[in-house]
């Protein structure tokens, strides 16, 4: 036990060393913003997340105009009043937007810490449920590696995260809101989960679909093996010999930890209540800040409307910009409905199949929305790649992981090259850049599909093991 504690302490200290190192690395990068010029990369700052557009919106607001007057700013008015003043403050001899960058670094660190806490929560819950199923060998192997630490470090050291943080896009804050809601749901804090969910939805709309995994998380508790197994096990135990001492212990354990079997409505109702409270609160704040100029209707039109109608055709990592730049105008509405329906269509099949693993379900949802959203950026990819680390144990048998790793590296190197060839040199054309966006989409698809199938296979393995055991 002593040696284990020692080991744990060692692990914790090494985690913090790495975390602090990543912060220092970010700070170093922040001091060379001119040389990197990341804020103008289309992969980093989309029309929704660009801080430059936010500064323009703040300027318009300061000169007593609606921040949505030009087609520049499409973010939330709350973000405007939070970050706006920071964009104006300049310190002599310091790079512009230093305060904003520091805020983004802070957001990244907080997200990483929350991911780590979520990971620990998930891991303890999972190992307990494995013990219940008497699959101790699996749980032991999972304890060696703290998935929370892995996920947090993956999030902190992922080049995508670093680039999104240093490149002055607001995606670290959006990611923080999403992670906050997941953390709140994992730790059974309905108010926190609701707050995170409402803010994330308000900032970027797509996290709205996370309400399903959040409800599952609150109702059933964190990820566990399929509930059927528990039922089978209990029935098997009942049938075998109810008087045995060990099985009595098991029974007690079962009674102690009911959650995986029954859906508890109380936190869910609390969550819904808090969600309505927070959304009313957020809407009231928004209407206060845009009251004089246009009101809430204009706000929704130029934030959510802008997301759904894909008005801005500037190139990004997604698949929709070139499509809508080329498609015939009379098909435009049809296709924008079809593409957004594609996200919605997959919600229920996934929810039915993965309802015992709400966190993983949330990961899949986030990946799908960052794959199909209208203005994706590396910040979104950073989020789901970080969350992927939470399931490092379950997804150990995932196929094509090396291929995917190489693909991600290849695309993230090729995409700037193609962009440069097309936009700056004029030697390439739009198809070059579009091809890398397509490739990236394909890799993301492979990632989603393979991770989902690996997770289902893992469940199968568990089932086999538990069936094989007497």
């Amino acid at each position: 036990m002593e040696s284990k504690k020692e080991e744990n302490r060692k692990k914790t200290s090494s985690f913090w060393v790495w975390a602090i190192a990543s912060v220092i690395f970010r700070l170093i990068l922040i001091y060379f913003p001119k040389n990197l010029n990341l804020s103008s990369r289309p992969e980093v700052s989309t029309p929704l997340t660009s801080l430059r557009r936010l500064a323009e919106g703040y300027w318009l607001k300061q000169s007593s105009m609606s921040p949505y007057a030009g087609s520049m700013y499409h973010g939330s008015p709350l973000l405007l009043s939070l970050l706006g003043p920071l964009t104006v403050k300049r310190m002599e001899g310091q790079p512009n937007h230093l305060l904003c960058s520091l805020l983004f670094v802070l957001a990244d660190v907080v997200s990483a810490v929350l991911i780590r806490a979520t990971g620990r929560k998930l891991q303890t819950a999972y190992s307990r449920s494995l013990k219940l199923l008497q699959l101790d060998s699996l749980s032991k192997s999972s304890e060696n590696l703290s998935s929370g630490d892995v996920a947090a470090l993956v999030y902190l050291w992922n080049p995508f995260t670093i680039v999104a943080c240093v490149g002055l896009s607001t995606s670290p804050i959006e990611n923080l809101a999403i992670i906050l809601s997941l953390y709140g749901a994992c730790t059974r804090l309905p108010s926190l989960a609701a707050f995170g969910w409402v803010v994330a939805t308000h900032l970027s709309l797509y996290p709205a679909i996370l309400i399903i995994p959040l409800i599952f998380l609150l109702g059933y508790g964190p990820d566990a093996p399929p509930r059927k197994l528990f039922v089978q096990r209990r029935n098997g135990k009942d049938g075998d010999n109810p008087s045995s001492g060990s099985s009595c212990l098991q029974e007690e354990l079962f009674n102690q930890s009911k959650p995986p079997l029954t859906f508890s409505w109380k936190p869910v109702v609390q969550f819904l209540f808090w969600a309505s409270v927070w959304s009313v609160y957020v809407l009231a704040l928004c209407s206060l800040s845009v009251k004089q100029k246009g009101g809430l209707r204009e706000m929704f039109k130029s934030t959510f409307g802008f997301i759904l109608t894909v008005e801005d055709l500037s190139p990004n990592m997604g698949v929709l910009w070139y499509f809508f730049a080329e498609v015939f105008d009379f098909f435009r509405n049809f296709f924008s409905i079809v593409f957004h329906m594609n996200i919605l269509f997959m919600i229920f099949p996934l929810a039915i199949r993965l309802n015992h693993r709400p966190c993983f379900l949330a990961f899949v949802y986030i990946t799908i929305s960052s794959l199909l959203k209208s203005y994706p950026s590396v910040g979104d990819s950073a989020l789901y790649l970080g969350l992927l680390g939470l399931f490092v144990f379950e997804l150990a048998d995932m196929q094509f992981s090396f291929f995917l790793f190489c693909g991600y590296i290849g695309v993230s190197l090729l995409s700037p090259v193609m962009h440069n060839l097309w936009i700056w040199r004029g030697t390439g054309n739009a198809n070059f850049y579009y091809a890398t966006a397509m490739a990236f989409a394909c890799f993301q698809i492979v990632l989603v599909v393979e991770s989902a199938s690996a997770m289902l296979n893992h469940d199968r393995k568990l089932r086999k093991l538990s069936v094989a055991k007497p």
């Binding site: 500064a55 000169s63 030009g70 809508f324 080329e326 498609v327 097309w422 700056w424 004029g426 739009a430």
Partner: protein, 686 residues
């Protein structure tokens, strides 16, 4: 009317011959009284109702060996009572336009070439009124409620487009026109302003313009407009200015003043070769009307009230001539002491002017400009007017310039972003101001900047930077007033109006605005997408400076529309260059490929993910088992047979065979069932 009266008097006198003498006297007295009364009454009505037309041509030598020719035609329609009345001189199309769309004031200009403010001047009424940006510029003020202004504007653009054979109807789209609040014109309420920088101007636009003149180009000064010589020029601007005057009451229609001007800058071909000058480069070319236009003035347009040709020598030139004259007078004899400009020995006019006017200068400068008037009335086909100017000695002068010289340029490279910079450089005038105002420290030069930027140039107004004397200054220090209406994608252009307060002793000032280039839908690109997109010219004006010229008082001058135009206080303004912004183009041949490839990716996502979710464990295991069974059915049976033979033992029956046979039996049963149903169906319903 007087003629008619005369005829009636003749008739009356004939009838009067029959009457006795006494009666005659009485009747004559009565008639005279009546006539007098009637003529007075008629005359007053006539004066009010008369439509007028006048034509004028102003010629002016320019410092860079060119000649400015400025045609000025003015038609006036007085306020009238009836609605659909017939016009004698005034073009009906225009009056209908004014009535229909309730235009208060309107200006349309077609321009080719750029006005060179450094060489051709920027401070006189001609340059501030007639120097226009290339392409088409249209602005109009409407006398309708605020909500109907846009609709009136759209209808007006279509009407003008038909009238002038130009694509003015492109100004209908709300992305091309703007509603400046105060920077373009000081008191603009229902004003709309739009430009088409890339509109090509040609004779097809000039012909309908000429049709509005009562004599077209058949007689009078407009007959000079020989197309090849006009379009050969360096600058060509054809302008139409409408002003509705008079009452705004319901019954009486407002009067209209239509002012049509054509300003051309031509390069005369020097036709004097005999004399050799000391400095050939400085020598001004001698020219005549026939040498620059290829035609002569064969008399006036009969319908015109006045028809004059003017020759203007501007301030700088007159001053220079005076200096030269003084030198000559000192060296030679002192006999030419009179102020008469005709007696200058440095140049010679082929025709003696009818009148000479001198500018009454309110600015205390050493010289004033001079105007020679030539009345066309005296000339006819047999004796045409061919005004010529022959220089005897080389003269160098410079034009009067606006306080600052403005130029605009793009910065940055690549097709992603850039910056617009407006650079203001002081000219001689502002340097003079600096010297004169050196005493009071609070000297300020106010500069008005008006700039319209199309929506696909996404300007970040918060990045506005002002540099005065190459040092960055806080925007609030320099800006007196600013109004920005940012562009809305595919709806409206971005408009920026501001008043800068610049110190007098400035060496340079620069404004800098950053922008992102937009990406358009393939349908929104013009046919020549790779040529780039034009940003309309910005307007730089100086609210404290007005260009006006007042000439020595003379009764005849009041009637001349050109002179009254000169006397009007017009804002000194200059247009900057038009900017050409290349935008990135997508691949125009790709729509089908892009649609199919994107949809394939979506199908890949949807299909493969659904496939993964659909797989059930049991099914899979059964599938694997049957696979294994099939494998054993072929290869392993062979192997087992072989091994059995080798071992010499009888082969064990495969356990899977029963299962497979039952499966095959089921399959056969299903096939039979389906075929039976099909046969029955065929038999009964086929």
């Amino acid at each position: 009317m007087t003629f008619l009266h005369g005829k009636s008097t003749v008739v009356v006198t004939q009838s009067m011959a029959l009457l006795p003498v006494r009666l005659k006297l009485i009747v004559i007295l009565l008639l005279v009284c009546q006539l007098l009364c009637s003529t007075i009454a008629f005359g007053s009505v006539l004066d009010k109702d008369e439509e007028e037309f006048s034509e004028e041509l102003l010629l002016k030598p320019l410092p860079d060996r060119k000649v400015l020719a400025h045609f000025h035609f003015e038609s006036r329609a007085p306020p009238s009572i009836s609605f659909g009345r017939h016009h004698h001189l005034f073009p009906k199309a225009i009056s209908q336009l004014v009535k229909k769309f309730r235009v208060k004031e309107m200006e349309l200009s077609f321009t080719q070439g750029r006005w060179r403010y450094e060489q051709w001047g920027g401070f006189d009424p001609i340059s501030s009124n007639n120097a226009k940006p290339p392409g088409v510029e249209l602005w109009a003020v409407f006398d309708v409620p605020q909500s109907q202004v846009d609709a009136s504007w759209k209808n007006l653009t279509h009407a003008l487009s038909g009238l002038f054979c130009a694509s003015i109807n492109f100004l209908e789209s709300s992305t091309t026109y703007s509603a400046p609040e105060w920077a373009f014109r000081p008191d603009s309420g229902n004003l709309r302003y739009g430009t088409l920088p890339r509109e090509a101007v040609c004779t097809e636009n000039l012909t309908p313009w000429l049709k509005l003149l009562p004599c077209r180009d058949k007689a009078g000064l407009s007959a000079l407009m020989d197309r090849p010589s006009i379009y050969r020029g360096f600058y060509h601007s054809q302008r139409l200015h409408l002003t509705a005057t008079g009452s705004s009451s319901q019954e009486v229609d407002s009067g209209t003043v239509l002012e049509q001007t054509l300003t051309v800058v031509l390069q005369p071909i020097s036709w004097i070769t005999g004399k050799s000058y000391v400095d050939k480069a400085n020598s001004q070319p001698s020219w005549s009307i026939s040498s620059i236009f290829g035609r002569k003035v064969n008399g006036k347009c009969v319908l015109a009230k006045s028809s004059n040709v003017y020759l203007q020598f501007e301030k700088g030139l007159v001053g220079e001539l005076k200096n030269l004259h003084k030198e000559n007078a000192n060296s030679e004899t002192n006999k030419l002491a009179s102020k008469d400009f005709l007696s200058y020995p440095s140049f010679e006019l082929s025709v003696n002017p009818d009148k000479v006017f001198e500018e009454v200068d309110n600015l205390h400068s050493k010289s004033t400009s001079v105007l020679y008037e030539f009345s066309v009335e005296k000339y006819n086909d047999s004796h045409p007017l061919d005004l010529g100017l022959t220089w005897k000695i080389p003269v160098v002068w410079s034009c009067q310039q606006a306080p600052l010289h403005a130029s605009r340029f793009l910065m940055g490279s690549g097709n992603e972003r850039g910056a617009i910079a407006i650079y203001l450089k002081p000219t001689e005038l502002s340097e003079g101001l600096k010297k004169s105002n050196i005493v009071d420290k609070s000297c300020e030069l106010r500069v008005n900047v008006f700039q319209v930027v199309p929506w696909y140039i996404k300007v970040y107004y918060h990045t506005l930077q002002v540099f005065v004397n190459q040092q960055s200054r806080a925007v609030a220090d320099v800006m007196e007033k600013i109004h920005v209406s940012p562009s809305k994608d595919k709806i409206s252009p971005g408009v920026m109006e501001m008043i800068l307060k610049l110190p007098c002793g400035l060496e340079s000032a620069a404004l800098n605005l950053e922008f992102d280039k937009g990406f358009l839908h393939i349908d929104e690109y013009p046919p020549d997408a790779n040529q780039g997109f034009d940003i309309p010219a910005a307007i730089i004006s100086y609210p404290d400076f007005h260009a006006s010229m007042r000439f020595s008082e003379d009764g005849s001058l009041d009637k001349s529309p050109l002179f009254s135009k000169f006397q009007e206080k017009s804002l000194v303004l200059s247009y900057t260059e038009i900017l050409l912004v290349p935008l990135t183009t997508p691949d125009f041949s790709m729509p089908y490929n892009v649609i199919t490839i994107t949809c394939t990716v979506f199908a890949l996502y949807f299909g493969s993910l659904l496939n993964v979710l659909r797989k059930r464990v049991d099914e899979e295991e059964r599938f694997l088992k049957s696979n294994a069974g099939r494998k054993t059915g072929r290869l392993s049976t062979l192997v087992s047979k072989l091994s059995a033979k080798l071992r010499g033992k009888p082969r064990e029956p495969q356990p899977s065979t029963t299962a497979s046979s039952s499966v095959s039996f089921k399959l056969i049963f299903k096939v039979l069932l389906v075929s039976g149903i099909a046969i029955c169906w065929q038999y009964y319903f086929g």
